[in-house]
Amino acid sequence: MNIDLHFAVTTAAYTGAGICIGIGAIGAAIGEGYTAAQATLATGRHPEQSAEIFKTMLVGQAISESSSIFTLVVALVLLFTKLPEVSSVSIYVPLAAGLCMGFGALGAGIGAGYPAAAACTGIARQPAMAGRLNTNMIIGSAVCQTPSTFALVIAFILLYSNFSGKPESPTWAAILGAGLATGLAAIGPGLGSGLVAQAGCEGTARNPEQAKNATNVMLLGQAIAQTTAIYGLLVSFILIFRSYPATDLLAPAMGLLSAGICVGIGAIGPGIGVAMAARSAVAWIPRNPAMTNELIRTMLIGAAVAESTGIYALVVALVLIFVV
C-alpha cells in the first residue's frame, strides 16, 4: 500500500485533533458540573449569599475550563496549521500531540472543579471568609492545571520540533511514547491536586483561624502529588531529545513506546493516592490544630510509601530507554 505522505500526515492530524478535544472535553465538563451542583445546593441553603456564590462558581469554572481550552488550541493547531512532512515520522507527531493534550486535560479539568465546589459550599457556611476562600480556590485550582500545562508544552514541542535528521524506525515510537508519557501522567496528579485543594477550601471555611496553615499544607500536598507528573515530563523530554541509532528491528522501538506507557499509566495511582493522604491531613489540621506536626509527618510518611510504585514505573521506563 503506497500512501502519499501529505495525505497520511493530514489524516493523522485530523485523527489527533478529534482524539485531543474528545478526551480533553471530558474532564472540564465533569469538574464544572460538580462545581455547579455544589453551588446550586449552597444557594438553596443560603439564598442571601447567592451573588457571592454565583461569582465564585463562575471564577472556579473558568479555571477548570482552561485545561479544555488547551485541548481546543491544540486541536485547532492540528486542523489548520501546515505540519512538517519530512518522513513517515511526521505521521506520528500529530497523533502523539493529540493524545498528550487530550489525556493531559482529563485529570486537571475534573480536579479543578473540586476546590471551586468547596469554595461555593464554604461561602454559604462562612460568608465573612469569602475573600480568603476565593484566594485559596484560585491558588489550588491553578496548581491543578500544572499537569495539563506540562501536556501543552510537550504537545507544542512535538509539533514544532524538527525530526528530519532522525532515523524513522525507533523515532516514531519515541514520539508516541513521549506524548503518552506526559499525557497519561497528568491524569492522576491533576485529579489528586484537586482533592487536596478541596480539603484546603473546606478547612478554611471550617476554621478561619487556621486558614493560613490549611493553605500551606495544601500547597505541600499538591507539590508531592505532582511529582509523578514530573516523572512523565522527564521521560518525555528524554524520549524527544535523545538520538537513537537507526534500526530495522521492532524491539528497540517497542521499548521506547513501552517506556512512555509505563511511566504514564504508573503515575496515575500514586498521584491520586498521595493526594488522598494530603487531603485528609489538610482536612484535619483545621479541626485539630494542636496535631498539625503529627498530621504533616504521617502525611509525608504515607505519601512517600504511596509514591513508591510511581518510582518503580520511572525505573522500569528508564531501564527500557537506556539499558535494554
Partner: protein, 82 residues
C-alpha cells in the same frame, strides 16, 4: 521492515514490561494513599495513639505494596530474563 520471530518476542516482552509496571502501579498507589488518609483521620480523632496508628498504617501499606512489587518483578523478568 521484516519482522522476525525473535524480534517480535522481544518487542512483546518490552511492551508487556511497560504495561505490567504501569497498570501494576495504579492499585498500590491509590490503596496506600487511602490507608495514609485514614491514618491522618485517626490521628485527628485520637492523637494519643499516633504511634500505634502510624505503625498499623505502615504494615498495611507494606502489604498493599506487595502487588506493586510483583509487577516490578514481572517487568524485570520480562526485560532481562525471558
Amino acid at each position: 521492515m521484516a519482522i522476525e520471530g525473535a524480534d517480535l518476542v522481544k518487542a512483546a516482552a518490552f511492551l508487556g514490561a511497560g504495561i505490567a509496571m504501569g497498570f501494576g502501579a495504579i492499585g498500590p498507589g491509590v490503596g496506600e494513599g487511602i490507608t495514609a488518609a485514614k491514618a491522618c483521620e485517626a490521628i485527628g480523632h485520637n492523637p494519643r495513639e499516633a504511634g500505634l496508628i502510624t505503625r498499623t498504617m505502615l504494615v498495611g501499606q507494606a502489604v498493599a505494596e506487595s502487588t506493586g512489587i510483583y509487577s516490578l518483578v514481572i517487568a524485570l523478568l520480562l526485560l532481562f530474563v525471558v
